[in-house]
C-alpha cells in the first residue's frame, strides 16, 4: 500500500469512528437518558395520559434507533465516495 493510500484510509477510518461516536451518543441519550435516568426530569412534559420519559421508553427510542441507522448508512455512503474506498 502506498503512503498516500495509507493516510487516506486512516482519515476515512477516523471520520467513520467520529460518526459512530456521534450516533452512539444519541443512541445512549434517548434510551439510557430520556427513557431511564432523566425520566423524572421530563415528568412535567405530559403526553397522552403519561409523561415524555414513558413515551421514549416504549416508542421514541425505537423510532430514533431507526433514524440513526439510516443516517449512518447514508453518511457512510458519502464517506465511501469521498475517500474513494467504496466498492
Amino acid at each position: 500500500m502506498m503512503a498516500d493510500d495509507k493516510s487516506n484510509a486512516a482519515a476515512y477510518w477516523k471520520a467513520n469512528v467520529r460518526l459512530i461516536f456521534g450516533c452512539l451518543v444519541v443512541w445512549a441519550f434517548v434510551s439510557y437518558g430520556c427513557a431511564i435516568l432523566f425520566r423524572p426530569l421530563l415528568a412535567s412534559i405530559s403526553i397522552g395520559g403519561t409523561d415524555l420519559g414513558f413515551w421514549f421508553a416504549q416508542q421514541g427510542s425505537i423510532l430514533t434507533f431507526i433514524a440513526l441507522i439510516f443516517f449512518y448508512a447514508w453518511r457512510m455512503n458519502q464517506l465511501d465516495k469521498k475517500y474513494g474506498l467504496g466498492e
Binding site: A57, L85, G86
Partner: protein
C-alpha cells in the same frame, strides 16, 4: 366452518408455502448453504432478519411481560431493538467485508488461533442451543392450543417441517421461508391490535391509540389503566422504577447480547456489498419496529380489557372506584374465551371467599390488605398466565374466527423462523469451523455440504429432544444465551475490528474471563447449572451485588472481557504484521467480493 377447521386451514396453508419455497430454493454449493449465495437484496435480508430475530418470546411473551410489568419492562422493547444500532455500526459491515461464512471463522482468523476459534464455537453452541429450546416449546404450545393435538405431536410436526427446508435449502431455503414467515407473523400480530385500538380508542393505529383517549370513559387510556390497577392494589402501570442502575444495565445487556448473537450476525453475510449490510440493518429494524411499536399498545390495551372484563363497572366513567371494585363479575357469567383458556390451565380461578365472584387484585401488596379485608376479600382468586394475552387477544375483542387462525399460524411462524436461523448457526459452526477448519482442512466441498446437512439434522434432533423434555431451567436459559453473547462474543468481535493491537492471548483471556464471571454470577443466584436448591444466595434484590440482577450481568461481563483483554494484550507481543493488515482491510469496503470460500 368450526374454529378447529379454520386454524388447521391457516396453519396448513402456511406450512405448504414453506415447503414449496424449500423445494424451489435448494442449495447446490456450500456458499448457497452457508450464506444463500451472497446475493440477497438488502430489503429482503432485512425482512428475513426480522423473522430470524423475532422469536416466540417476541411474538407470544413480550406483550404479556409489558402488560404485567408496565414501564419497568420497557427494557425488552429498547434492548431488543437498540442492539441493531450497534450491530449496524460496530460489527455488520466489517464482518461482511471480511467475507467468510461464520462468526468463529472471523474470531479464528483475526486472532490467528485455533484455541480462539474453538472457544468461540463453544460459546456459539451453548448460546444457540439454549435459545432453540424455547422456540421448540413455543411451537408446541401454539400447536396444542390451536390444533388440539398433544404438544408432543406439535413439536414433531414443527421439527419435520424445519428439517425439510433447512436441510434441503440451508441458508438459501431459510432466507426465503423467513421472508414468508415475516409476512405471516406481522399480519397476524397487527390485525387484532388494529381492531382492539379501534374498539378502545377509535384510533386504528395502535401506537397512537395507546396515547389517545379511552372512548368509553373519556380519560386518556394510560391514565385510565393507572386508575384501574391502582384501585385493585397493583402498582401504577406507568410508575417509575427505583433501581435505575439495574434497569440501565439490563437494557445494555440485552442490546449487546442482541448484537453478539451469531444467528443474527450471519444474516448480514448474505448481502452483496458492505454498504448493503448497513442498509439492511436499517430495514431489519424497520420490520422489527412494526411489531415492537405495536407490542406496548397491545400490552396496555389487553391489560385494560382483562381488568374491565373482571370489573365491568370500571369500563366507563367511574365516579367511585371503591364501589366499582366491590362488584367483580360472577364466575358463572364469565365470557366464553375465559372458559376455553381455563381448559388449558393458563387461567385458573379459586373462589377463596365463596361468593361466586372473581376477586382479582394484588394480595401481595401489604398496604392494600386493609382495603381488601374491608371488602370481604380473602385473597386473589384469579391467576392469568402472561403468555395468553397475545394468543387470546382476538377472542377477548370478539374478533372473527379467521383472526384466531391467523394468530395460530403467526405464533408458529415466529418460533420456526428463529429456530431455523439458530440451527443454521449451530450446523455451520460444526461443519465449517470444527470439521473443515480444525479437524480436516482437506475435505472436499461435496463432503463439507454433506457434513453441514448431517450436523443440521443432528441439531434438529437435539432441539426436538430438548423441546420434548425441556430441562427445568428452560425459562432461565434466555438469560444464559444473552449473557454469553454479551460477555464473550460481542467484545472480541468489536476489539477484533476496532483495535489493531489486540492479540490472540488478550482475546482468549478476555473471552474466558467474561464468560466465567457471568456464569458464576448467574449460577450463584439461579443455582449451579440451574439445579434448584444449589444457589449460594437467594435470588432477591437485597442479595444482588449493588442491586444488579443476574439477568443484567451480561453488560458487566462484557466490561470484564474488555478490561482483561486489554491488560493481557498490552503485556504480550503484538499480533503479526499480516493480521494488522487484515484488520485495516476490513475497515473499508473497497475490494470486498462476495463471501468467499477458502
Amino acid at each position: 366452518m368450526s374454529q378447529f377447521a379454520i386454524n388447521l386451514l391457516f396453519v396448513g396453508a402456511s406450512f405448504a408455502l414453506y415447503i414449496g419455497i424449500a423445494i424451489w430454493a435448494r442449495a447446490g454449493s456450500t456458499k448457497e448453504f452457508y450464506v444463500a449465495g451472497g446475493g440477497v437484496h438488502p430489503i429482503t435480508n432485512g425482512m428475513a432478519t426480522a423473522a430470524d430475530w423475532m422469536s416466540a418470546a417476541s411474538f407470544i411473551s413480550m406483550a404479556g411481560l409489558i402488560a404485567s410489568g408496565g414501564y419497568a419492562n420497557s427494557t425488552y422493547l429498547m434492548g431488543w431493538t437498540g442492539g441493531f444500532v450497534i450491530l449496524a455500526m460496530l460489527l455488520a459491515p466489517y464482518l461482511r467485508k471480511f467475507g467468510k461464512f461464520t462468526v468463529p471463522d472471523f474470531i479464528g482468523e483475526r486472532f490467528y488461533s485455533p484455541t480462539a476459534r474453538v472457544v468461540a464455537v463453544v460459546c456459539l453452541i451453548i448460546a444457540s442451543v439454549t435459545y432453540v429450546i424455547g422456540q421448540m416449546t413455543g411451537a408446541g404450545v401454539a400447536f396444542s392450543r390451536f390444533l388440539e393435538v398433544p404438544s408432543t405431536w406439535g413439536i414433531w410436526i414443527a421439527a419435520l417441517t424445519v428439517f425439510f427446508y433447512a436441510v434441503l435449502g440451508g441458508m438459501k431455503g431459510i432466507t426465503y421461508t423467513q421472508v414468508a414467515q415475516y409476512v405471516v407473523l406481522i399480519v397476524a400480530y397487527t390485525i387484532p391490535a388494529v381492531f382492539i385500538a379501534m374498539q378502545l380508542t377509535g384510533n386504528p393505529i395502535p401506537m397512537f391509540g395507546m396515547f389517545s383517549t379511552h372512548s368509553e370513559s373519556g380519560v386518556p387510556l394510560l391514565q385510565k389503566l393507572d386508575d384501574v390497577v391502582v384501585a385493585l392494589g397493583f402498582q401504577d402501570y406507568t410508575a417509575d422504577v427505583d433501581n435505575k442502575l439495574n434497569m440501565l444495565l439490563f437494557t445494555l445487556s440485552l442490546m449487546i447480547g442482541t448484537a453478539g448473537l451469531p444467528h443474527v450476525i450471519i444474516r448480514f453475510f448474505t448481502v452483496p456489498k458492505v454498504a448493503d449490510a448497513r442498509w439492511s440493518a436499517g430495514w431489519a429494524l424497520v420490520f422489527i419496529a412494526l411489531l415492537y411499536l405495536t407490542a406496548p399498545a397491545v400490552a396496555s390495551m389487553a391489560r385494560l380489557n382483562l381488568m374491565t372484563t373482571v370489573y365491568p363497572e370500571m369500563t366507563g366513567q367511574v365516579e367511585d372506584y371503591e364501589a366499582a371494585a366491590a362488584e367483580p363479575i360472577l364466575y358463572e357469567d364469565r365470557p366464553a374465551w375465559f372458559q376455553t383458556w381455563e381448559e388449558t390451565g393458563l387461567i385458573t380461578f379459586n373462589d377463596l371467599n365463596d361468593d361466586g365472584r372473581i376477586q382479582f387484585y394484588n394480595d401481595a401488596n401489604a398496604g392494600f390488605e386493609g382495603t381488601a379485608t374491608e371488602r370481604g376479600w380473602a385473597g386473589n382468586e384469579l391467576t392469568v398466565n402472561n403468555d395468553i394475552l397475545v394468543l387470546a387477544n382476538p377472542e377477548i375483542a370478539n374478533l372473527p374466527g379467521w383472526v384466531v387462525g391467523l394468530i395460530a399460524a403467526g405464533g408458529i411462524a415466529a418460533a420456526l423462523s428463529t429456530a431455523a436461523g439458530l440451527l443454521l448457526a449451530i450446523s455451520s459452526a460444526i461443519s465449517h469451523d470444527l470439521i473443515k477448519n480444525t479437524i480436516n482442512p482437506n475435505i472436499s466441498e461435496k463432503k463439507e455440504m454433506l457434513a453441514a446437512r448431517i450436523s443440521m439434522g443432528g441439531a434438529i434432533l437435539l432441539a426436538t429432544y430438548l423441546g420434548l423434555n425441556p430441562p427445568g431451567f428452560a425459562a432461565q436459559t434466555v438469560a444464559l444465551a444473552f449473557g454469553i453473547a454479551a460477555a464473550s462474543l460481542f467484545p472480541v468481535l468489536m476489539m477484533g475490528i476496532f483495535s489493531t493491537r489486540m492479540n490472540s492471548a488478550g482475546a482468549v483471556c478476555g473471552m474466558l474471563a467474561g464468560l466465567t464471571c457471568t456464569l458464576l454470577y448467574i449460577f450463584t443466584y439461579l443455582g449451579w447449572f440451574f439445579i434448584p436448591g444449589t444457589n449460594m444466595l437467594p435470588n432477591t434484590p437485597d442479595n444482588w451485588f449493588i442491586g444488579i440482577s443476574p439477568l443484567s450481568f451480561g453488560a458487566v461481563g462484557a466490561l470484564i472481557n474488555f478490561a482483561v483483554a486489554f491488560a493481557v494484550s498490552s503485556v504480550t507481543a503484538p499480533p503479526p504484521r499480516e493480521i494488522q493488515e487484515l484488520v485495516e482491510s476490513v475497515r473499508y469496503p473497497k475490494g470486498a467480493g462476495a463471501a468467499i470460500d477458502h
